[in-house]
């Protein structure tokens, strides 16, 4: 094989590999791009039970309860427009509190309760999950408000 042909074949294979990768990424992204849900999205579009997603919002004040086993917690997540019940079995992060932002990883069960496998709370006092930017909790009306 001549060097020129070889170079051509190499370039073709590289292009094919990259196009393949692009297609793969596009198809995976189409499936997973709806990865982040706010409670309002759930109300508007419904949910697909068992599909791994991230649910983000604020923990509703007064909604947090601990079950008898001591390690399961029930709470509600709101974005001010809709509220979704959620359950988590495990140790919640230190900054997971009522009235604070949370991003929960997990999936809905068939009843519409979000079963979280992982909770991402604020990492420190300054960090706020980017998906929740612009939301805040109003202490008086106990509602979520959009800032500005």
């Amino acid at each position: 094989m001549k060097a020129k042909h070889q170079r051509l074949i190499l370039a073709l294979v590289a292009v094919l590999a990259l196009v393949g990768a692009g297609l793969l990424a596009a198809s995976a992204l189409r499936d997973e791009a709806a990865y982040f849900y706010a409670p309002a999205d759930v109300r508007a579009k419904g949910f697909e039970a068992g599909k791994a997603i991230r649910l983000g919002g604020m923990v509703v004040k007064g909604s947090l309860t601990r079950a008898a086993d001591g390690v399961t917690i029930h709470f509600e997540v709101t974005d001010g427009k809709a509220t979704v019940p959620a359950v988590f079995k495990g140790i919640a992060p230190d900054l997971f509190k009522e009235g604070s932002g949370v991003v929960a990883e997990g999936a809905f069960d068939s009843m519409g309760t979000f079963v979280a496998t992982n909770l991402l709370a604020k990492h420190d006092e300054r960090y706020m999950p980017r998906e929740l930017e612009g939301l805040r909790y109003d202490e008086e009306t106990r509602e979520m408000k959009a800032e500005r």
Binding site: G70, E125, R130
Partner: protein
């Protein structure tokens, strides 16, 4: 005075970098080539000055000089000595100064020790180094001055983020930066070689040690970062697909591809243009990583410095360097003729496939990391997380492992399938046996990826030591040992990942003192929960006794730790390491009924993940020593004779 001296040193270093660039430019352009004689001393002086500036900043931090803004906002006089020291780079300005300091030192080293390159390529390389440094000097001096004073001085500092107060994280950023900056040297080499049209085997031989060194540091940095996240964040996972983690993974993927292609170029004089392009891409990935981390533009648990102005500055630098390098590449690629040809079945082909697969993984990670940014520009908020990355990167990584096993067993230039197949017989048999065994004992209980992962890990492990088969081990070159050990390390890591995801046992419980929790075959008894205090924290600490089978009990002390400045709680997991796995215990919160939450994991062979990482780095080190030892010995001998 120290702050002013440091700032002065930084300005001087920046001026010298400019001088260095001008000298190279004029010297290479035409008649005044005598100017080139001054380039090396200038590069050395620049390196010394910028290191001086960095040492000044360290001194300010250790002395807790609260009249310096950076110290006041990121340190605290009550902090342990180690974290005052390491706090120097635990913030935006300090870490950028660390970056230029390492870069200046690397430039000085290139000026002093590089002998293999042709003189004009060497000078062009130093010019490239100066050009990159200048951008970062400008960034520091105009947008992120670390030496700014506050008047009046702060009463005391605001402290360092407690999550960073950990020996692992204290030394993790410098390690990564050594890797990033090492790639900048490879980038400058590529630019220099393109300018002087000198892309050949000799150039690759000169570039390889720099790539290897950078790759070793990146490997160590990523391994350490993964272990830190595992034990410090208390979530028991070792990879998060966080943008900041990806920021270090992407340069590593590119550097791994570059490492292999530069070897092909050095030994076989093939893949010239491809190698140069990878050198450009590898450093671009370091820059993209820096941009992602420093701009705060993406969600990350550990991004800091959310500042659009700085993000824009880095973005402009990014565009200038990457755009410039690609333009140069496009302009000069015609001058880089392709080297020696090779047949379809050959080690070259395997390395090309390796490079393609690594590039594809790199592309997919890059797309996944940047996708949220792109959609946000159109008003959608999405986040791309573990499901995306696992689904696409996992299978390709497994294919890559197979290529890695086959590659070293093929010959350079030309091989025949009938000759290659018998060499693969033993690993193939091992794979079949493992797959059959796993299928009988654990079918349905472990996922598809862990199943194939474990199978491939054991087969690749066997295949990676195969190049030593029937060799005189004492005479086997260090370079070959390095390759064998690094590939074995990949198999070991993969085995650890597969075991962790397939066989981890988790137990959650709420317990009172005196209660016993059982997980796998471990018995854990909570004795009491008591407050304890450290240098700058207080904690609630569980006193636990754990035992397995009839073995003697061991004490474990998971904590929930409170830091006053800044006010933060961290979870300090307790780890018990045994040869076959790790017991991981996290203390949670106390309920109204006085029961404490406990989370217990038994993670079989999870430590293999990081042990494998260490093996990979060790392999790199051996390869570096093996290739360079002879050259160094000759140089030293020549110098000793001359003296």
């Amino acid at each position: 005075m120290i702050a002013e001296a440091g700032l002065a040193a930084l300005w001087l270093a920046a001026a010298l970098a400019l001088l260095q660039l001008i000298l190279v430019g004029i010297g290479l352009a035409g008649q005044r080539s005598e100017l080139l004689g001054a380039v090396r001393p200038v590069a050395v002086a620049q390196g010394l000055l910028v290191v001086t500036a960095f040492i000044s900043l360290i001194t300010l931090f250790i002395r807790s000089d609260m009249s310096v803004l950076l110290v006041a906002t990121n340190s605290h006089s009550m902090k342990p000595w180690l974290y005052k020291f390491a706090g120097t780079w635990g913030n935006h300005e300090g870490s950028m100064l660390l970056w230029v300091a390492v870069m200046g030192a690397a430039g000085a080293a290139v000026a002093l020790f590089e002998r293999a390159l042709r003189r004009d390529t060497h000078m062009a390389t130093l010019g490239g180094q100066a050009a990159i440094s200048l951008g970062f000097y400008a960034f520091l001096l105009f947008a992120s001055n670390p030496f700014t004073r506050v008047d009046p001085p702060a009463a005391d500092g605001q402290g360092l983020n407690p999550l960073l107060q950990d020996p692992g994280l204290a030394f993790h950023p410098p390690t990564l930066y050594l890797g990033y900056v090492g790639l900048s040297v490879a980038f400058s080499f590529a630019v220099g070689a393109l300018l002087t049209r000198q892309v050949d085997a000799a150039f690759a031989g000169a570039m390889r040690p720099w790539v290897l060194a950078a790759w070793i540091f990146l490997t160590l940095g990523i391994t350490a970062g993964s272990y830190w996240a595992y034990y410090e964040l208390g979530w028991g996972g070792w990879w998060f697909w966080d943008p900041v983690e990806n920021a270090s993974l992407m340069p590593w993927l590119a550097a791994t591809a570059l490492l292999h292609s530069v070897t092909v170029l050095a030994t076989r004089d093939a893949l010239r243009a491809w190698t140069v392009m990878l050198a450009v891409i590898a450093f671009s990935m370091s820059m993209v990583g820096t941009f992602l981390v420093r701009s705060g533009i993406l969600t990350s648990v550990h991004a800091f410095a959310v500042d659009p102005e700085r993000g824009t500055f880095i973005l402009v630098l990014l565009g200038l360097y990457i755009g410039g390098a690609f333009a140069l590449f496009g302009w000069r690629v015609g001058a880089v003729r392709e080297g020696a040809p090779f047949e379809l079945v050959s080690r070259e082909t395997m390395l090309v496939v390796n490079n393609l697969l690594l590039s594809v993984i790199l592309g997919l990670v890059l797309i996944g990391t940047l996708y949220p940014l792109m959609t946000e520009a159109f008003g959608h908020k999405v986040s791309v997380g573990a499901p995306y990355f696992d689904r696409i990167a996992g299978p390709i990584a497994l294919i890559l492992m197979i290529v890695m096993a086959v590659g070293p067993l093929t010959r350079w230039r030309r091989d025949r399938l009938v000759d290659v197949s018998p060499r693969l017989a033993i690993p193939a048999v091992i794979a079949l046996v493992v797959a059959a065994t796993l299928a009988t004992i654990a079918w349905g209980r472990i996922g598809v990826l862990p199943f194939f992962g474990l199978t491939i890990a054991l087969a690749v492990g066997a295949a990676s030591v195969a190049p030593l088969w029937k060799r005189n081990l004492r005479r086997t070159p260090l370079f070959t040992w390095g390759m064998v050990i690094a590939h074995l390390g990949c198999a070991v890591s993969l085995a650890g990942m597969a075991c962790d995801s397939a066989f981890t046992v988790e137990k959650l419980a709420a317990v009172r003192p005196g209660d016993i929790v059982e997980a796998a075959d471990w018995k854990l008894r909570l004795i009491q929960i008591a407050p304890v205090a450290g240098d700058n924290w207080t904690a609630l600490q569980a006193d636990m006794e754990v035992s397995r089978g009839g073995g003697s009990p061991v004490s474990l002390h998971p904590q929930s730790r409170f830091f006053a400045s800044p006010p933060t709680t961290t979870t300090e997991a307790a780890l018990l390491t045994r040869w076959n796995g790790q017991l991981y215990v996290v203390l949670g919160q106390e309920g109204n009924d006085g029961r404490w939450q406990l989370r217990v994991w038994w993670k079989p062979f999870v430590t293999l993940i990081w042990f494998g990482g260490a093996l990979i780095a060790l392999g790199g080190l051996l390869a570096l020593l093996g290739r360079e030892r002879r050259g160094w010995l000759l140089k030293w001998r020549a110098r000793a004779l001359a003296a």
